[in-house]
């Protein structure tokens, strides 16, 4: 084992040197075994995913604008714009889900197991609601994906976001199940807190998509 103060030459002969490091030690045994927020590795993977998926959403919206600019009318072939009711309702449901989501986050970061469990369950309830409403949204889009490019991009945006709702719902339920299982490693609280972060992302990323899907077709001809 080499240490950092041997010269290049010393390096080579010391390759068979005894293990015991020369020089002082940096003792890290007193450090915690997990940490929240950007101190934790989990945060970085979540942030990475959010960056990637955020980029996908952004590109999808840009694509819609690109097609819209080149289109004589929007919707293209005289379809009605998507019905506002369910989409708007769902937007409100999602936004409101941010509240219990943040209780959960706070509870998790206080290592409060009962709070975290309750929070996760409540959030899942919310998720169930907006998944159901999402189905109604699809039925009120007033277009098919194979009508024209307008229908295609509308369904693409909705599909992309719904995929996120579903995956987030699934991994939240798995995480909730883990919380009810003993023994429980404390770093699961980090997972809960990151899950909440991702939840916020899924909700907030909906807002531009909502505008693009529901309001762009209502903004008249260009």
């Amino acid at each position: 084992m080499k240490t950092s103060h041997a010269s290049a030459t010393a390096q080579r002969e010391s390759s068979q040197a005894p293990l015991q490091p020369r020089g002082g030690l940096l003792d890290v045994s007193a450090l915690p075994s997990f940490a929240f927020s950007h101190r934790s590795l989990m945060w970085w993977s979540t942030a990475g995913l959010m960056a990637i998926e955020g980029a996908v959403f952004a590109l999808a919206v840009v694509t819609m604008l690109f097609l819209r600019v080149h289109a004589p009318a929007w919707p293209l072939s005289g379809q009605l714009p998507p019905a506002l009711l369910w989409g708007t309702l769902n937007t409100l449901v999602m936004l409101s889900s941010v509240v219990p989501n943040h209780w959960t986050k706070r509870a998790a970061e206080a290592l409060d197991l009962r709070g975290a469990r309750r929070g996760m369950v409540v959030c899942l309830g919310w998720a169930a609601v907006f998944l159901v409403v999402r189905v109604l949204e699809f039925r009120a889009l007033n277009c098919r994906w194979d009508d024209d490019a307008y229908g295609s991009i509308v369904w693409m945006l909705m599909g992309l976001h719904t995929a996120h709702l579903v995956t987030d719902f699934v991994d939240s339920s798995v995480l909730a199940a883990v919380l009810y299982r003993m023994p429980l490693a404390l770093r699961r609280f980090v997972d809960v807190s990151e899950n909440c972060l991702y939840w916020d992302f899924v909700v907030l990323s909906w807002l531009p998509l909502y505008a693009a899907v529901y309001w762009l077709p209502r903004m008249g001809a260009s």
Partner: protein, 323 residues
């Protein structure tokens, strides 16, 4: 037979029109600058290799060398590179402007449409009776600017006549234009430059640049409908062609044949090549082409005709009569 299908200038370094010439000038300047830069970098490298002392992996490394002097030199080099790049940028923009400012007074209007794997060409004219269609061979009057309106019938193609001008894409759902002028009479060769499927390689566009008088003669000949066949053999050939499957895709103006899926055959015999530059256009190759196009251009959309040998002879005689 190869030589005759490859006839014509297809070379960006042989510029016979203002568009290509301006690019060629820019190319010469850029080449000079880049060669200079390349030489200097290599020189610097050689000097470094020559000056620097040799060492081995045991040589004690310099840990915190004083890099102010080398960094100053790096700074100078970067400043120089920036200036050169700016010069090239100016050159590029100026040339681009010049290309856009080709004089277009009494320009010839031509619609060029790309298909897998051939070109349909429509010569436009204010007087509708003077417009006409042809295919796979472009004729330009010497010294007169031409405006090519480019469209695609299927996938993206790109028309490139290196000795006359840079290339331009033919994009389905869009219209692009290419303006050029040929200042030297002779035979040129263009080619599709955007990959367009199985026969991208055999989608050539022979270009003939002629004195205005000759061009007008050619245009008048093209405007005319097909002459009725002279001899008996050709007449039989005509019956076979018009009664067979050729007319499902091809047009021969002056007959019932009016389909537009394949090249216009009204003046087929006046063209230099068959299959968009695949084969030279003479009797023997024509017979070979008609009886099995795919043997020469695998993937071509033209089916092989099943004529008996003497029927084939008659068909060829008729097609050869379409001057």
């Amino acid at each position: 037979m190869n030589a005759s299908t490859s006839g014509g200038w297809q070379d960006a370094l042989l510029a016979h029109g203002p568009q290509a010439a301006q690019v060629l000038d820019l190319w010469r300047i850029t080449l000079a600058v880049c060669t200079l830069v390349f030489a200097l970098v290599l020189l610097a490298l050689l000097v470094a290799l020559w000056r620097a002392p040799r060492g081995t992996h045991e040589t004690a490394p310099q840990i915190a060398p004083d890099d102010r002097k080398p960094l100053r030199r790096v700074g100078v080099a970067i400043a120089a590179s920036t200036l050169l790049l700016l010069a090239l940028l100016v050159g590029s923009v100026v040339t681009d402007r010049a290309l856009a400012q080709l004089g277009l007074r009494d320009a010839l209007h031509i619609e060029l449409t790309g298909h897998q794997w051939w070109w349909s060409i429509h010569y436009d004219d204010p007087d509708p009776s003077r417009t006409f269609d042809t295919a796979n061979e472009l004729h330009l009057p010497l010294g007169r600017p031409a405006i090519l309106t480019l469209r695609s019938g299927d996938v993206i193609h790109s028309v490139w006549m290196p000795s006359l001008a840079g290339k331009k894409d033919l994009i389905p759902g869009r219209t692009t234009t290419l303006t050029l002028r040929a200042d030297r009479a002779g035979l040129y060769r263009g080619q599709c430059a955007e990959f367009c499927g199985a026969q991208h390689a055999w989608m050539a566009l022979p270009v003939s640049v002629d004195e205005p008088a000759r061009f007008d003669a050619w245009a008048d000949a093209q405007r005319a409908t097909a002459k009725p066949p002279g001899d008996e053999l050709a007449r039989r050939g005509q019956r076979l062609v018009l009664g067979g499957d050729c007319v499902m895709c091809h047009a021969i103006r002056g007959t019932d044949a009016g389909a537009r899926q394949g090249p216009d055959l009204t003046h087929l015999a006046a063209r230099g090549t068959l299959g968009a530059g695949t084969l030279p256009n003479d009797a023997s190759h024509l017979a070979a082409w008609v009886s099995n196009p795919a043997a020469h251009k695998p993937g071509v959309n033209m089916p092989s005709a099943t004529f008996s040998p003497d029927d084939l002879q008659a068909v060829v005689a008729y097609l050869r009569s379409l001057q």
